[in-house]
Symmetry: C2
Subunit: 109 residues, 2 copies
DNA sequence: AAATATTACTCTACCTGTCAAAGTAATATC
DNA sequence: GATATTACTTTGACAGGTAGAGTAATATTT
């Protein structure tokens, strides 16, 4: 399991990517992250919902209520046009970050 | 300039790498980071000295005073054996983090 | 000689993202 | 009816990073 304070700052990107594929609800995103990373990373519930609040306030995602299925009512999120632009920035930023940190990790093992 | 809250969590690794090359003092590390990254990233003074304190308390680095040269007295840091082990962990962790985040950035631009 | 720039480190108060813990509520299964 | 699972919310705390202000010594400019 990768420590989450090292993923910190990249959660917006991860979550936005999943929402940009299709509208999703919180619990689903949490499961999807575990699945895709093979449990190498799991997002904490409290963290996930905090991200939603932050992104919604900034108009990067917007919410609507969906079905009540097998449990609590689902709250779906969709990405806004502003959110798409933001995600695209984050992708660029990630490749810049990789370059920079790699500079310092080179030659070590 | 890359936002620093996205580098957050990797500062230990960057600083330790530089100290592991040779003993260094704070101001030097700050200059070296700017130099190597071509000013794409600059560490803030307050942050740098906060990292020193944290790492010293954990026995990952240790300090000794050097010359007073062209200004304030220099405080040099050297990496301890524990620090070397820690750095080696951080390098492994970095490659794990890259894999995970890349999973979610794939196919986007 | 005085003023300014540069080198070099320290401390405090604050901000932000993450998260443990506890809670609410509905459906499915035993 | 009890338990498990799905699903979301809120509160309070913590840790890392940072602006800003301060201290102090040497070098350069005026």
């Amino acid at each position: 399991m990768v420590r989450s304070d090292i993923i910190r700052g990249h959660l917006d990107a991860i979550i936005l990517r999943l929402i940009s594929e299709k509208d999703r609800y919180g619990y689903e995103i949490s499961q999807e992250i575990s699945l895709r990373t093979n449990n190498r990373f799991q997002i904490k519930e409290a963290t996930l919902y905090a991200v939603f609040q932050r992104l919604e306030k900034k108009d990067i995602i917007e919410a609507y209520y969906g079905d009540v299925s097998h449990g609590g009512k689902r709250k779906y999120y969709r990405i806004t046009p502003l959110g798409k632009a933001y995600l695209s920035e984050l992708v660029k930023e990630w490749s810049a970050v990789k370059e920079i940190i790699d500079l310092f990790m080179e030659g070590l093992e």
